[in-house]
Structure formats: C-alpha cells, structure tokens
C-alpha cells in the first residue's frame, strides 16, 4: 500500500506538539513529518529534531575569503603596480586593517545572504504543499501515512484539537 501525505492544521503550539508526539506513538518517524508555521517555533517546543543549517559555516567561509581578498587589495595591488610616494610606505598596515575589515565583513554578509538561498533552495517557484492559513498564524503538520490508515490518523489528530486533517495538495504559491 502506498503512502499519502496528510496535512493537519492547528491553532496553537500545544496541540501541535501533542499531535507530533501522537504521530511518533503511531509509528510516524521524524523524517516523515514536516512542520510549517507563520512564526519561527523552536524545535524544542514541538519536540522535533534540531534543524541543521550551514548558514553560519558559509558566513565564516565568506569572511575568510573576504579577509584574503582584503589582503590582496592592500598588499597585492601595490605589488602589481607600485605607486611610490616619498616618505610613504608601499604596504602600510593601519590603512590595510580598514580595508581588510571592510572586505571581511562584506564577504561574510554576502555569503550569509547567499547561504539562506542555498540552504532553503530559494527561489523556488514550483508547486509546493502549502496552505495560506499558515501565514494567518496556523501551524501545519505534514506527515506521510499509509493510505489505508488515513482515517485512523485523522481521528487521532482531530481528537487532539486539529482544525482540519486532509490530504495535502501541491499548489502554485
């Protein structure tokens, strides 16, 4: 029997967290559950595994790249074409610190921003499983369940306060 994706909508965090616990009890593992919400809700509140992100690593990588680029601009370009001015150092350290700082921060910020795009697969304009009520503050729980047990899951989640439990549909956002 094939699986179907169901969507349960909840008004509050507490019943949503209880529903996830119930799904675990009914044999649905975390990798078959996903949650969408209109505000960021901590994984601890919902009893979900910690979502992994590489954004901070990408930011660090960007900062290192920016630092090296700053070094190149400060020390590399005068080496490529030296403009010698009497009494002035060709490779002065204090102005170099400013340059290196700005480039480090610029690259760190750019890579953080691009990191969100990479990690979230933005932009993504394909049809996706979604309900607009989520941006009205509802919490949506998607989970995969065997098709023949759909009613059992619906009853269990309705008992826990779900506003609706229905088959999830991919839609153009």
């Amino acid at each position: 029997m094939s699986d179907t994706t169901l969507l349960a909508l909840f008004e509050d965090i507490d019943p949503a967290a209880n529903a996830i616990e119930k799904l675990h009890e009914m044999g649905v593992t975390d990798d078959r559950i996903s949650v969408i919400s209109g505000v960021p809700i901590s994984h601890k509140m919902l009893g979900r595994p910690h979502p992994w992100t590489n954004v901070s690593r990408l930011a660090l990588g960007g900062a290192v790249a920016g630092f090296l680029f700053g070094l190149f601009l400060n020390f590399g370009t005068p080496f490529l074409y030296g403009v010698r001015v009497g009494g002035q150092a060709l490779f002065p350290i204090p102005p170099g610190l400013i340059l290196v700082f700005e480039m480090t921060m610029l690259f760190a910020l750019l890579s953080t921003f691009l990191g969100v795009f990479l990690e979230s697969y933005f932009p993504n304009y394909r049809a996706m499983e979604y309900v607009p009520q989520v941006s009205d503050g509802k919490i949506g729980i998607f989970f995969k369940a065997p098709e023949d047990e759909q009613q059992k899951f619906e009853d269990a989640l309705n008992q826990l306060g779900a506003e609706s439990v229905k088959t999830a549909e991919a839609r153009q956002l």
């Binding site: 505000v39 979502p51 992994w52 074409y81 760190a108 750019l110 304009y125 941006s135 956002l173």
Partner: protein, 482 residues
Amino acid sequence: MAVTSKYLSGADKPRAEHHEEEHDPRESLMYDPLPRGVMNEMVMESMHATSWKFWLVLGILVFLVATCFFYAWGYMIANGLGVAGVMRPSYWGVFLVNTVFWIGISHAGTFISAILRVFKAEFRRPFTRAAELMTTFGLIQAGASIFMHLGRVWLAYWMFPIPNERQLWPNFHSPLMWDLLAITTYVLGSTMYLFLPLIPDLAMARDRSAGWRKIFYRILALGFRGTEGEWRHLTTAMNIFAFAIIPVMFSVHTIVSWDFAMAMRPGWSSTVFGPYFVLGALHSGMGAVAIVLFLMRATMKHMDYFIRKEHFDALGKLMLIVSMAYAYFFFNDYIVQWYGGDAATDNLLHWLEAGPMAWMFFQMIGFNIVLPFLTLWNRRVRQTPWLLAIIGLLINVGMYWERYIIIPVMLTINRMPFTWKLYEPRIEIFLTIGTFSMFLLFYMIASRLIPLIPVWEVQEGQMVHSLRKVGKAHVPTVSEFE
C-alpha cells in the same frame, strides 16, 4: 493586632492603583494581541488604502525628482561643476554635506533593528522595518550625492578595484577609497538585512493578493512556506546580520569622519571625530525615525494599533540619551580645540560664534543639545507623537547645520586668510531638494508595496509576552522563545 494605615496625600485610591491606571500594561502592543489573520488584514489594508491626497503628494514628489534631481544633475553633467558653488577655498560643499547627512539618517535603521534586536528590546518590533527602509533609501541618496560631487560621474569606475589598461589600481591608502569600500559594504549589508526579515511578510502578502501584486509578491517571496528549515536558516542569518552589521555601521561613519579628521585643518584634525560623527548620525537618525513613525501613524490606516505612545516614549528616551552623548562629544571636540590656542583654530571658533554663520552655529547647539534636554525629560512630550516628530525635525535641521559648518564653513576659514570666501550653494540647492524628494518618494512607494509592519515579528513578540498577577497588580513578563 490589626494595623491600619492612612494615605497621607488624602487620595481616594492607593497610590499603587493610581500608578497602574497610568501605566496599564494592557495598553502595550505586546499585551494587546489580535489574531494573526486580523493583523495581516490590517497591514494589507494599510498598503491598499490610498486617498487623492496620497496621489497628489506623490505627483508633486515625482515632479520635484524629475526637475530638481534628474534635470538639475543632467544640467550639471552637461555644463560641468562650474554651475555649482564649490570653488576655492570650499571645494567640498553641499554635496558632501548631503552625503554625510544621509549616511547619518541611515544609521537609525541599523541601530533600531540590529542593536535593539541583539539586546532584545521588545519595543522595537513594530517599527524595525520602517527604520531599515530609511537606511536603504538614505544610503541611496548618500551614494547619489557622492556621485554628484564627483562631477565627471562617468569616470566613477576608476575607484573600483578592477585592472585597467594601465594596470593602475586605486590607492587604497586614501580615506576616500575607504569611504567607497565602507559605504558599499553598508549599502549591500543593510539592503540584505532589510530583505531577509521581509521574506515571511512578502509570503503573507502573496497569500492575500491578486493580479500584478500577486506576481510581484510571488517573485519576491522566493517560494517561502515557513518550514522549520526555512525559519532556521532565516533566523540564523538574521542573528549573524544583527551582530555583523553593527561594527560595519560604526565603521562607516567613523571612516566618513576620517575624510575630514585625517587632514591637518583647523576644526577638522580631531581624534574624537569618529565617535562624534557616529553619535551625530544616530542623533539625526533617531529624529528621522520619530518623523517617519508620526507620518505612518497619521496617514496610514490601522497604524495606531501597531505604533503606540509607548513606542514614541521609548524612542524619545533614546533620543535624549543620544543627545546627551552627542553633547559630550561636541564639548570634548570643542574645548580641546579652543584650549589648544592655535591661531587658525582661534580664528575659526571666533568666526563661528560671531561671524555671519553664527546663527547656524547657535541653532545647531539649540536644536541638537538644548531642545532635547529641555523637552525629552517630560513623559507627556515623549508620548505626544506630533511633538516628538517636531523635535525630531528640529534635531535634523540642527544636524544638517552641523555638517554644513564642518564642511564648507570650516573650509572657508583656513590658514590662508587671502582665500577666505563664503561658500554660496547654487545648483546644490535644487539637487538637495531633489534628494529629499526622492527619499520621500521611495518611502511613499514602498509604503504601498511592502508591509511596513513586520507582522510575524509582532506576533512572535505577542506570543512571548504575558501578564502575571502578582498580588493585586498585573506584571508584564517575557519569556525566551528560542
């Protein structure tokens, strides 16, 4: 034995109850929640509702931008910088005054959004975006003013670090090149910082729009659904931005101050110019936020729910603190130069106090220091939106005069008295009107295109705030949500 007590003041009610009436926490936005759907509708309505007055003001601004910005700048490009008033000894005139002024305005966005976010100052929530928009639009005007100052603007690419046919690189040891790098970093950083928290609200607008607006929001929302992963990446990035943009903000105006402080000129060569400029920037930025919040509340539908007296009160307190810090640095800068006894500096200071620009000097002190000190101590003043907006406006006038004094006036009174000649702006006046008009135009257009209230942040705030009954009082409590 029972103990009875009397109220010495003769008041009917206990003082604590009277106090509670004045500061009822339930009047606060965080303790007066509405369902998210209702708040979404309010924000969407505020974007859609436009009266004929809106279109009239928009039309006037479009006309001013077309004539005072594009036509005037085109005229200056065609005829050269000779049509401007800059000449010996004031080679730096109003264009750079505008640059410094607009960079100053831009500091408010970062301060309110990043610093208050880092310190979890909850009152920031409804107006972070309004302030962030000021940063982006202010920096656009600052950038435009620098390009105006360049004169031969088509050669601007000479400053970019790209190899050319002569293999000559820009001189990165020049403070003017530091400016380019710092402002570029700040423009890009603050624009990205504006966009990231906007994504969930764009998705909200996408879900409630039709026609061209639907397409517009759909493209900008990037397919955001609010999954756990998306929130995690977004909040991590926003935290990184909040911390990283703060030193960038400080660096930008410090570097702008070094354009002046690195030169051995009377009035400029000062070691406190960096922090003095940063404080000045925050001072004008806070004032500008007060004006924007007042205009939003007065002209946009439902804004009185989101922007309340408590926000003006908090902003007024910030303005007062920044004003005190500004006064400290102003006096520090002034007294060291005055005490130094350098003849050229003495001439300059005497000229500022008793010369033809003395009115500007004393207005600057009056608006930037005396006015906030005299008014912002009072809670009623701070909580009166129109009054705070007027104070913010006058602070900005004072800060504009401050930059005017620092740039063309201080260039006038130099070590060569035979060159002294008062700077008289010419086409600069039109271009200044043009930049102000463009800033307002961008803001008005943005107010109808993007949600100025970060609804998800407001809802998040309302979810973590609650009132706890302690004895007979309701005490506000805040919990950590992460």
